[in-house]
Subunit: 381 residues, 2 copies
């Protein structure tokens, strides 16, 4: 790494050497990609505005809901896809990777819309969730019948529409490795939906399942619902789209899968111990929803009977107060579950960075993947 | 048409003339296509069984739910796609059209799964709807927390999975006209979801909207939610996949769109006047759900104040009894709304058959489209 105290030193080098430090070059290029991604999404929504408007202006709230949700977020999946593409030698100017990134972002929007219906969440990215948004539209117009049911119906349809749009964008990403990237995209979608099912099934079935297997089951959910979907598949998809051979895709996985697991474990810890001001959701919501996270799994493995009973009685109770949450935090810390989870995060992070060192790629994409990885595991929201 | 009293006469003709009457040839070929469609779906589900099984055997109920639902139905969309393909000169042996047909069937399954959540329907194709099926799984295992909420969550995820699978199959349909067929597929998906939104939005907003426009709004819903999706797009998609030029696609639309509208109007009439033994759902369910059908639109246009008030008070009331439904039928018949709807069905049917006569295609696909069209508008369920 170029010393920050010598910002101009690289300018004196020969032309074959990058004029900027890879970290600076990554930030500039990453920002440019995000701009192109926004433009692509904007253009796509404009096209769909015409399709919907031709049917009936009454349908435009569907588009506004999807576009509104899709204007936020860190674009993590799209950026990982872009840097996977670049690590595999893809051309920075090729529109295919922008389109694939936009497809990943719309897939994420669709998943969030349906997730919020499933979890009955009122807010998302600091705004009302989509079903709440349509419920408000119903109230605003003084429409008849059941407002919340209308909200759920409209959100299910918005998510379906968004899922189709994601696919439509993906199908427009023409590149040498499109067929192999399609296989990654297909697998990603199946795995995330199946992983989400495992998650909700664990919420209702988990209390009756054996304690010894609880940590492993929680890790399975993390792997399929989150780590593969949010990190591994985007990086691999980008590399595959650029035409990378199987061996390179495997090296990408070796880096991205443990990173994704560490990322989700960090999220789970924040879901119980995080500051609502930075996470954007009430502390302890994971406990109220009854999520069987790795933290919960470790309590079931490491806790005494009283601690386990206290946790089991509280999980999935929507009316948990701040005092209950504080007490549960004490249980999770006291039995060693928090420490065990933090150790797992550290081990997975170390594994990811070691694998990244074995990835044979140009300095700029390597710096990018390193930067995104560091942000993912230390992120505060 | 060969006279049915001379079944063997065609056998004496030269070899260039089909040895069977087109009607018989259509039935044999149609049956063979449906067999290949089933085999394709079965093979696809087998592959997904491996994907899901590798994640966790706990996730297999998702596959069973989708496969169970997809084993039934008349395969109308897939068959229309096949005969559109054949009308445009597509090779009967090409696997691409089987794959596209399977994609349409899985899209339909996904739409039904989510529709049943939205409409809170308990049954589908004579079996429990998917959310009810998962609710029963919850009860059977004695799982904790909220059984109906688990059912809805699992059904939303099953539908999403099924939607992705539909895409996956479609992307595997390699044929000369794949790019144009993709445009039809994309438009179809957007339009049906948007049309469904118009339908649910009409249920809550309809009472306050102007009476003069009620029939037209109901026709808009029919067009996008049903006629284009169930009839026009499948035929056009098949023809496009076979590489048909734009003029042929337009002739296909001229036949299939009015047919689809007549088909859905027939369905609406059956939804109020049909025999539950043949329709498979309780008489009057459309009224209980508050569907703003063309029948309802005509009552608002043709009825007197008392008739309109009676209908508006009843629409969307889940507890309508048989006597209420009988009374509403009398209103619909008495004000002329039923007759107006039947006349519209007749006019659209005549338009469709006239357009079919202008379609320049081989006798067997023409006989097939004629046969499917006749069945669609006279169908009793």
């Amino acid at each position: 790494m170029t010393s920050p105290s010598l910002p101009h030193s690289s300018h004196a080098r020969a032309d074959t050497v990058p004029r900027e430090a890879p970290e600076d070059a990554f930030r500039a290029e990453d920002g440019r990609f995000v701009d192109r991604l926004h433009a692509e999404l904007e253009r796509f929504f404009e096209g769909q505005r015409d399709v919907l408007g031709a049917i009936s202006a009454d349908t435009l709230p569907l588009l506004e809901a999807v576009a509104g949700l899709s204007s936020g977020g860190k674009r993590l999946r799209a950026r990982l896809c872009y840097w996977g593409w670049r690590a595999a030698g893809g051309d920075p100017e090729d529109p295919a990777v922008v389109r694939a990134g936009a497809a990943l972002e719309l897939f994420q929007s669709a998943a969030l819309i349906h997730d919020d219906v499933i979890d009955r969440s009122d807010t998302r990215r600091g705004a009302p969730s989509v079903h709440r948004r349509f419920e408000a539209l119903h109230a605003e117009h003084g429409w008849s019948l059941d407002g919340p049911a209308f909200g759920v119906a409209a959100a299910i349809l918005s998510g379906d529409l968004c899922l189709s749009w994601s696919e439509q964008l993906f199908a427009g990403a023409a590149a040498p490795g499109a067929a192999r990237a399609r296989a990654v995209f297909d697998l990603m979608r199946s795995e995330v939906m199946v992983g989400q099912y495992l998650d909700v099934q664990g919420e209702v079935a988990g209390a009756g399942q054996d304690r010894a297997g609880a940590v492993q089951r929680a890790l399975d959910v993390i792997r399929y619902k989150s780590a593969k979907y949010s990190v591994e598949h985007p990086v691999v998809l980008g590399a595959a789209l650029a035409g990378a051979p199987k061996a390179v895709l495997e090296r990408c996985s070796a880096f991205a899968l443990p990173l994704g697991e560490a990322f989700q474990l960090r999220d789970d810890v924040l879901g119980v111990f995080g500051d609502p001001a930075t996470t954007g959701k009430p502390a302890g919501d994971d406990l109220r929803e009854g999520k069987r996270t790795v933290l919960v799994g470790y309590v079931r493995r490491l806790g005494d009977e009283a601690q386990i009973a206290r946790l089991e009685a509280a999980l999935g109770q929507a009316d948990l107060g701040e005092r209950d949450v504080a007490e549960l935090r004490a249980v999770i810390t006291g039995c060693g579950a928090l420490r065990a989870t933090e150790e797992l995060i550290d081990a997975l992070t170390a594994e990811a960075f070691a694998a990244l060192d074995r990835l044979d790629a140009d300095p700029v994409p390597l710096a990018a993947l390193r930067g995104l990885a560091a942000a993912a595991v230390r992120r505060s929201s």
